[in-house]
């Protein structure tokens, strides 16, 4: 056990935490309702029920919440602190970032025993977030493209015209459905890594997403 003091650092600002938890909630809602839209259960007892109607309503509302959260996070990446900056998500563009990424990778592959401490995001994680971000974008685009078909020639349908010319309708459905599993795969990884770093770094990795504070040995990077 070390006896050194740690610095208490404010890392995750309020908008970052809000976006994170809105994403969690909306993805959970979207996944459950999405699954029920793709493989519906016959809840309806009479023709005047509206179970699928409500399930779809929740799906679309959560979709809007998710999209707004995503857009806000993008905007925040230009005005937030350095840990929220868009540069964080492109670590492979910088020498230092690449070095850290390799150290992180070696640690994950059980080659190194030394836990690399990261003050904000770790570069391996932000690279995964970048991929995830593009996955989210395609999720949003395919989702709204399918949604907009209820009002053909409307504003949304027209502005998503490029989607219909690039993909078949059923192709978008398949992608939208299958990407849910890719996101599940990410979530498994994400929760595991957070747990691992929490028990190894002793920097309050998990609770920092609630409080915003992490505890680090290093003062500044």
């Amino acid at each position: 056990m070390s006896e050194s003091c740690k610095f208490k650092r404010y890392i995750w600002e309020l908008p970052v935490r809000w976006c994170h938890w809105i994403n969690v909630l909306s993805i959970a809602l979207l996944a459950v309702t999405g699954f029920l839209i793709g493989n519906p259960y016959s809840f309806g007892k009479s023709a005047s029920d509206f179970t699928m109607g409500w399930i779809r309503f929740i799906h679309f509302t959560a979709a809007y919440a998710f999209t707004v959260s995503l857009a806000s996070r993008v905007i925040w990446s230009f005005i937030g602190n350095r840990y929220a900056q868009w540069r964080e998500f492109l670590p492979f563009l910088y020498v230092k970032g690449r070095e850290k990424m390799i150290r992180m990778l070696r640690y994950y592959m059980l080659l190194d025993k030394e836990v690399p401490e990261t003050v904000g995001h770790n570069p391996l994680a932000t690279t995964a977030y970048l991929v995830l971000f593009f996955l989210y974008i395609t999720m949003v685009l395919t989702g709204f493209s399918l949604y907009a078909e209820h009002a053909p020639q409307g504003i949304m349908h027209k502005s998503l015209g490029f989607m219909y010319s690039m993909f078949s309708n059923q192709g978008m459905r398949l992608f939208h459905h299958f990407s849910m599993y890719l996101i599940f795969g990410f979530i498994v990884n994400h929760i595991y890594s957070a747990w691992l770093m929490d028990i190894k770094e002793h920097g309050s990795e998990i609770s920092s997403m609630f409080s915003g504070y992490k505890f680090t040995v290093k003062r500044e990077e």
Partner: protein, 379 residues
């Protein structure tokens, strides 16, 4: 269905030439079509064009005066289903009016003339009516290897459509084959089948996909041109918005069951008999734009979903490839064998990831790592 009216058909090529100078109203009166039937026809067309009922008298007025445009009908790689759809109308009067309005000068399947005589009729139209005739194409165009896989009258279909559609006022591609290549263009597409739009780029083409085309939509397209002197507004696939501007799912008579959460689970089950939604049986209504629910087929008798069969999505581009499997909601995942559904692949993926991390986690939990503060120095 009514028997094919053979008298009607053998008249086709003759009438076209004889009555060119008469207005449609005059021709109909000569042929003894009653005013009542004519008005009925006009209201059907007004509805098909998605116009308010008050337009019916205006449509009648315009049709009364207007002259018939010359029309040639090319039969390419097809099953003749569209011709059948047009001719086998249950209501002979309306069927007759349709043929009166379409002054068919050339139609390989139904014209009386044959051989050189028939070809001469076509050549005459192309030369004398250049830029004024309407061309209807049924079937896909074989494009591969210079179009050697299909020919009529010694000429490849490709050359034929380029010549005939190129000189037409407008071309109406009827049926899915003529619109997008249809079943001929389904993978692996050995003949390089394509729709007319692809074969004759630059020509004015209206696509009326569907398998077969709904004859009412064909007539309404021509009536639209006759009444308004312009072609109807089209969507990005070249389909008239009046017929393809709404999604089947949004006009479907089973939609209340969809919203309620009442689905057919198996063919012939109680729910099927009670007319529940066919979504789980692979219905492609949510992906298909067509006016089937309102226009229906065979003089509004029925349509696939009305008859208890899920929509196959026949009026969408590449439907043979993209809408299959017909009785499943989602396409199979490409590259994973035939029966790999998105759910199977996805669950395997997530389970694999979870297992990998479980092993990794166990190894990490028993391993003694150096935590950052152990180093005791700042970097």
């Amino acid at each position: 269905m009514a028997k094919l009216d053979t008298g009607k058909i053998s008249n086709v090529s003759k009438q076209g030439v004889e009555n060119r100078d008469c207005s449609i109203g005059e021709i109909l009166r000569q042929r003894g079509v009653s005013r009542r039937d004519f008005m009925k026809f006009c209201s059907v067309m007004t509805a098909a064009m998605s116009l308010p009922a008050t337009f019916a008298p205006k449509v009648a007025q315009a049709l009364d005066k207007v002259k018939r445009p010359t029309l040639v009908w090319l039969e390419l790689q097809s099953c003749t289903g569209d011709t059948e759809a047009l001719l086998r109308s249950a209501n002979p009067t309306v069927g007759e009016i349709v043929l009166e309005i379409l002054s068919v000068d050339y139609h390989e399947t139904i014209m009386a003339a044959a051989g050189h005589q028939a070809e001469a009729a076509l050549d005459k139209v192309i030369v004398e009516e250049k830029g004024k005739y309407i061309c209807v194409v049924e079937g896909s165009v074989s494009m591969k290897n210079g179009g050697i896989y299909a020919s009529t009258g010694g000429k490849s279909h490709l050359d034929r459509v380029r010549q005939v559609c190129g000189g037409a006022l407008a071309t109406i591609a009827v049926g899915t084959c003529a619109s997008y290549g249809g079943i001929g263009a389904a993978a692996p597409n050995p003949t390089g089948a394509a729709g007319v739009r692809e074969a004759v780029p630059g020509a004015t083409i209206i696509n009326l996909p569907g398998c077969p085309v709904n004859a009412d939509n064909l007539t309404a397209t021509i009536v639209h041109y006759l009444v308004f002197s312009k072609l109807p507004a089209l969507d990005s696939y070249g389909r008239p918005l009046f017929a393809y501007g709404k999604r089947i799912h949004d006009n479907c008579e089973r939609r209340p069951h969809f919203d309620a959460g009442q689905y057919v689970e198996q063919w012939g089950d109680d729910r099927h008999r009670r007319g529940f939604c066919l979504y789980k049986m692979g219905c492609k209504g949510p992906a298909t734009f067509h006016n089937c629910p309102t226009q229906r087929y065979n003089e509004k008798t029925s349509w696939p979903i009305g008859a208890g069969h899920p929509c196959a999505g026949c009026s969408e581009p590449n439907f043979w490839d993209t809408m299959s499997p017909m009785y499943k909601r989602l396409p199979n995942v490409p590259g994973f064998g035939i029966e790999a559904t998105a759910d199977k692949v996805g669950v395997a993926l997530v389970a694999g990831a979870a297992a990998a991390f479980a092993v990794h986690g166990t190894l990490n939990a028993i391993r003694k790592d150096k935590e950052p503060s152990d180093k005791g120095k700042e970097e």
